[in-house]
Amino acid sequence: MKLFENIFKFNGGIQAETHKAISTAETIKKFGIPKKIILPLRQHIGRLAKINVNIGDYVLKGQLIANADGNVSAAIHAPTSGYIESIEKLPIPHPSGLPDFCVVIITDGKDTWVDKKPIDWKKIGYQKTVELLISSGIVGLGGATFPSHLKLTKKDHGAKLTTLIINAAECEPYITCDDMLMRERIDELIKGINLLHDFLEFEESIISIEDNKLDAIEKIKKAIINEKNISLKIVPTIYPSGDAKRLIYLTKGIKIPKNTRSSELGIQMFNVATIVAIYRFLEFGEPSLSRIITITGNIKKPRNYEVLFGTPLEEIITDAGGQKINNQTFIMGGPMMGFALPSIQVPVTKAMNCIISAETEMLKNDAPVLPCIRCARCAEACPVELQPQELYWFSKSKQLDKVEEYNLFDCIECGCCSYVCPSNIPLVQYYRFAKSEIIEERQHQEEANIARERNEFRLSRLEREKIERAERNAQRRAQTSSDEKSKLVEEKRKAIQEAMARVNKEGDNSL
């Protein structure tokens, strides 16, 4: 009972079936080296990575093949050794289903490492270490794929970071990759937390975990008995407790204000898998090359795999025995926020934490979508305390300024509103539509502003040129005396007239 002390319950949320046991019966299986590796350049939030290899190059495992382009970007490494076959547009796991640039590597099966260089951050200092981390390719592995080096600051807007929260909530149903990681690799996690704790000089480190992961909780408790810096916070199983702002509230009772990063209030949050990745990079010099991924749902042999990035998803599905009931639909991410993949001919990416082979009831979308009856169940379920019924009403009728007035951009698209809606309205779809519509409109506005500026600049330039020309003419006129000038003009005119007359005559003759 004491564990539940100081739980700051946020508004709403839902308690759906978790379906986590499906994929936790088996241990994490290390998936072998595929024949072909397809590495999309778009695997993170921010700018595309810049390729620095050529077709036909031989690359080693862990070799940098694309650099981070600027600060908000992440590097990409070869997950195993082999030859670069091509760089082309191929299907990637993206909700649009559109292809994007990928680097294709034909593996040689030798798995030869580059020279791994462990980093002794104490020796080379904080600044140097962070610079090195930019080339680590590590991004948030909880699914958001935000480049991690940007979060490794000691201060944000003058606020010193004091609290490290380790996000082990994993609130989405079906997903168990973090759970399994904690069960099997707790040592690495604890070492990683200690490393980060010292590296960024935190005052406290808290592991926040939902109370349904009993095994993992046991393991953590045992592991932190002698760790005075690390504490454990068990939070109730309410989706979306794993959302950063919600989890910070559950753990510390602090509501992070709108448009503010938690780090500005001294709190930084990392996902467990990300911490392990950072640990492995600093301790062993291993960049981000693989991740743990849950294969679950309507599948014959559900379990967690550790997979190299770029592995074709199809091969993993085949290894898991294929679908129980064949419907060819796979969902990437959790059932609440994920999206259906256009096909399984896509590679595994850094964002891919879970693949759910769709259960039959997930395909049942022939239930009628009735009008909203304003029952406000969605408002009760909304963890951000928005008014989903109003957002829907205005998104549906495309009154975008009103949608914004009702704080559309605070929506985290968690799907709680759609989950509870008795009319089966795909509310989140409407919000996504409205958001991208507004964003596009803003872009157009910006483009229009630039165009206006350029047009005004051009008009003023033409005006200036006109004046300058007039001035020049006036000057020239002033130089030649008016008499002379008129004479000149007279002569010219005469010459022209004569010429014209000649031409006319010739024309007549020729006719």
Binding site: L98, V369, A451, N455
Partner: protein
């Protein structure tokens, strides 16, 4: 009868003086509405509205000279916004001025271009680079898709290419679901 006339004249005098004084006191100049209208217009500067640019069209709307439905690139949304701003009823686009097209940018076929600079002079936003006798290039980001460079080109080397959808500019579509009872158009 006299009294009646007297009363009316007296009233008129008082009111006239009062209004005259306030007219001087509350005199205004300038019209802030033009800026507002201009900010709604898409700034393609294409001239399809019959005015030489977006600002002149905005001025014409503000003075009541032009209607709000003469801007094809602004599309239906633009007309709705203008109607909203000016408190008038929405009216569909006047097709005399053209029809909305998907946003495109001009691309110069650099093999055919003879470097005549005519397009450079036509471009309202200075989005074409090049000098005489050298082939020209369009700065794609700055191109508004106004098509003003097409007619002057003597060798027809400029093409309008619609912008393609990529993962970068992809956006979520308006939801369509089975049995969309709440959005069905009445027949």
């Amino acid at each position: 009868m006299l009294i009646t006339i007297g009363v009316i004249i007296f009233l008129s005098l008082i009111i006239g003086v009062a209004l005259g004084i306030s007219a001087i006191k509350f005199k205004v100049d300038g019209d802030p509405i033009i800026e507002k209208i201009d900010s709604i217009l898409p700034q393609t500067q294409c001239g399809q509205c019959g005015y030489p640019g977006c600002k002149p069209y905005a001025t014409a709307i503000a003075s009541g000279e032009a209607d709000i439905n003469q801007c094809p690139p602004g599309g239906d949304d633009g007309i709705h916004k203008l109607a909203d701003l000016l408190g008038v009823d929405y009216k569909p686009l006047n097709e005399e001025h053209g029809v909305p097209k998907p946003k495109s940018v001009a691309i110069i076929d650099e093999k055919t271009c003879i470097g005549c600079t005519l397009c450079i002079q036509a471009c309202p936003v200075d989005a074409i680079l090049g000098s005489a006798k050298h082939m020209h290039t369009i700065i794609e980001k700055e191109c508004t898709g106004c098509e003003l460079c097409l007619p002057p080109c003597p060798v027809d080397c400029i093409d309008m290419v619609p912008i393609k959808e990529t993962t970068e500019n992809w956006k979520w579509k308006y939801p369509v679901h089975k049995l969309r009872v709440d959005e069905r158009a009445t027949p």
